[in-house]
């Protein structure tokens, strides 16, 4: 039990993520979390504005159930399966973030500087969250998939487009982390 409560090492976590993909493929579906964003748009009536949202979203209900499960899974993991230990980050990462003005680095999953209501409810805080979400939503649909659809499923199926997309993920991620975050914070 103690082993479960501690953070899981990569060599346990990685194969378990493969298992998620294999389960979904075995159930005749695919592992792709960002597709749900399109489904949300269609449910909300976006089909009135673009062909892209005119599809049979009801065939995607199973994926919405996966989302519901993921929310429940997140709840179970922090409530019952965690011992509250800090994330064991590289000390260099911690000092880099301290220099950017981040405190208590690694004590929670997310930085209070971005996700605490105190910081969210300012113009800058709101713009960061909406902007980050917008980039993720726009980019993932433009690229036709996210980490689950391209990095895990596409690469596992040896698809070249997915490799190009993952290279793109890294170009964007590196630019944000190395050049833009220091400007924002």
């Amino acid at each position: 039990m103690e082993l479960i409560l501690k953070p899981w090492p990569w060599y346990i976590s990685g194969p378990l993520i493969t298992a998620v993909m294999v389960f979904l493929v075995y159930f005749g579906k695919n592992f792709g979390m960002s597709s749900n964003l399109r489904t949300f748009c269609s449910i909300g009536g976006a089909g009135k504005y673009a062909d892209f949202f005119r599809f049979d979203w009801k065939a995607q209900r199973w994926n919405l159930i996966v989302v519901l499960g993921a929310i429940i899974g997140g709840f179970i993991a922090v409530q019952f399966l965690s011992d509250g230990s800090a994330i064991e980050l590289n000390p260099e990462t911690i000092s880099d973030l301290n220099q950017l003005g981040f405190q208590d680095v690694g004590s929670a999953l997310l930085p209070a500087e971005i996700y605490d209501w105190q910081n969210v409810l300012s113009l800058k805080g709101l713009l960061i969250l909406i902007g980050a979400g917008f980039l993720v939503g726009f980019g993932t649909r433009y690229a036709g998939g996210c980490t689950s659809g391209h990095a895990i499923t596409g690469l596992s199926n040896l698809q070249l487009p997915s490799l190009i997309a993952v290279i793109g993920f890294f170009i964007g991620g590196l630019i944000m982390t190395h050049f833009l975050l220091p400007l924002i914070f």
């Binding site: 159930f27 429940i72 909406i130 690229a143 993920f169």
Partner: protein
């Protein structure tokens, strides 16, 4: 009843991503700084085992629970959309520290401000849908 298995897969997915710390903003930052092997180990081992699993599923002609052959739809050919779209996604991923799966999972961990990120992501998807005919693919 037929949806129950998807609920369980989702719960399993949520637990694994929290326990692996892959949902942590800090882990994503650390990854893009190349300061830890952790995330590379997770994604790398998932992909290597994934290649093997997909190959085996096809090779052994395993039938899905729907009685069909295993099929992973190929992605359309192209470079621009993957490179450009991927880069835009990457900018958001490194800023939010969360991609579409972890957004929901983190909501479940009690971070309700994540709803704003999810709202932004739905908005981004909507704008893409509107602009799609005019974007290079």
């Amino acid at each position: 009843m037929k949806f129950l298995k998807f609920l369980f897969v989702g719960i399993f997915f949520g637990i694994v991503l929290v326990k692996s710390e892959a949902v942590s903003w800090y882990r994503i930052f650390e990854m893009f700084k190349f300061q830890s092997f952790h995330m590379y180990g997770i994604i790398g081992s998932a992909v290597i085992l994934g290649v093997l699993s997909v190959w085996l599923l096809k090779r052994l002609k395993i039938k899905t629970t729907e009685g069909k052959e295993v099929y992973l739809p190929p992605k359309d050919k192209g470079i621009v959309r993957y490179l450009l779209g991927g880069s835009i996604f990457g900018l958001g991923w490194a800023l939010a520290g969360a991609c579409p799966g972890p957004m929901y999972i983190l909501l479940g961990t009690g971070v309700f401000s994540m709803l704003i990120v999810i709202f932004g992501a739905v908005l981004g998807t909507f704008v893409y849908g509107i602009l799609k005919p005019r974007l290079p693919h």
